[in-house]
Each structure stands twice: as structure tokens, then as C-alpha cells.
Subunit: 122 residues, 2 copies
């Protein structure tokens, strides 16, 4: 994985919502992109914080303490152990950064649980 | 640091180029924004990779192996121990993610070495 990575280009290759693609690693963390649409599994990651940055569209992160609404170039870090449900009625393109071992559905496996898939280098 | 963080809004408050602002933490990492303009100190971080994402403008990361040219929504991870010089003739707005202990000029202190400054919560 070397050279500039064009996130919009990688996102344009993704067909299914909620299936993240790992585009780079940062020490033992993954940089992932994902298309979001509809409702994701409510879950938490007991072992790690999770970074969300919206590039396009809008994403709501539903928390017990209230909703976090994200539009383009807006970000949020979900604290470790915090129950959260990503919801995206109109769709969004999102960057996620989290330890490479992190499973997308955290402590709540579902039909949306995804394998770690690494984008081929260009 | 809770709630959505609007990176463009934080960047609009930055006056000086090359002075990063920490807007959030992700475990023991910082999420930082910085305005770049002109030439930064060539340096390396022997202990960590460093994540760069351009939101606006254009940034060149000069490496011994060649230049990495980044425009909006393009990213690059500089591998640990790799000499690099960020250069931005026309200016850019950039997201950096790296361990919170990381100094901006790495192993090469200069007049551009900056303290860690955390953005007040909104």
C-alpha cells in the first residue's frame, strides 16, 4: 500500500453498504472506507474507541446520550464500550480508523458482520 | 471532546500554517488538523507511522522515493522512520492522525516545532 490513496475512487468501487474496505494501515490500526445506507447493528467495541469521518452524505450515530449527526468533513470518535448504532437514511461515504483487529459489529455479531478486506495496492 | 466535530470550522479558526490543533483523541492517538503553506522541516518519526488526509487544497509529501501528491479526499500514511518533507505551495487543510506523544517535527527540531494544543470542546 504505497502512493496517494484516493478515497473517492476506492469508495466508487464498493457495491454493498456496510462492508468496509481497508485502504491503509497506520501502525496496528486500519484506515477503512465504507458506504453506509439504512440501519446498522447496534453494538459496542469494549476494547477500543472508533473514529468516524464523513466524506459525503450524512450519517447519524445513535447513542444512548443522544444522536450525533455528521455531514461532509465532520467527525466523531465513539468512546470504547459505548453502545452506538450508525444510521444513514440517505447514504454516506465514511472513513473509519480503528485497530486492525476490530470487527465492524463489535460485541454484537449479525448478518452485517464483515471480514477484514484489504484493498489491493494500485 | 464530545459531539460532532466540524473540521472546516476548526480549521477556519487557525491563523498560522504548520501549527496543528488536536480536535479529538482515539485511544492514545490524536486527531489533528493543520493548515499547510510553504515548506515544512524535513524529518522522520522513528517510532510511528503518520496519517495524512487532505480536505482542501494540495499537499506534496516529498520522500526519497519520490513525491506523493495529495488533493481533496486523498490520503497517505508515511511509514515510521521515513524521511519526509510536507510542502504546500498553494496551501492545504489537512487531517493528521498519530500517537498523542508525536512531535510535529519528529527527529528534527526546528523553529516549526509546535506544542500539542487541544481544541476546546464546542
Amino acid at each position: 500500500m504505497s502512493g496517494a490513496i484516493d478515497l473517492a475512487r476506492v469508495l466508487s468501487t464498493l457495491q454493498e453498504p456496510w462492508l468496509p474496505r481497508t485502504v491503509a494501515t497506520l501502525n496496528d490500526y486500519d484506515v477503512r472506507v465504507v458506504k453506509t445506507r439504512g440501519e446498522f447493528t447496534p453494538h459496542s467495541h469494549p476494547e477500543t474507541d472508533e473514529f468516524f469521518l464523513v466524506l459525503q452524505g450524512s450519517l447519524t450515530i445513535k447513542l444512548e446520550s443522544g444522536d450525533v449527526e455528521l455531514g461532509p468533513d465532520q467527525m466523531y470518535v465513539v468512546p470504547r464500550g459505548t453502545q452506538h448504532q450508525p444510521v444513514s437514511a440517505d447514504g454516506a461515504e465514511v472513513v473509519l480508523i480503528e485497530p486492525s483487529t476490530t470487527i465492524n459489529t463489535g460485541d454484537t455479531p449479525s448478518e452485517l458482520t464483515a471480514d477484514r478486506v484489504v484493498q489491493n495496492p494500485h
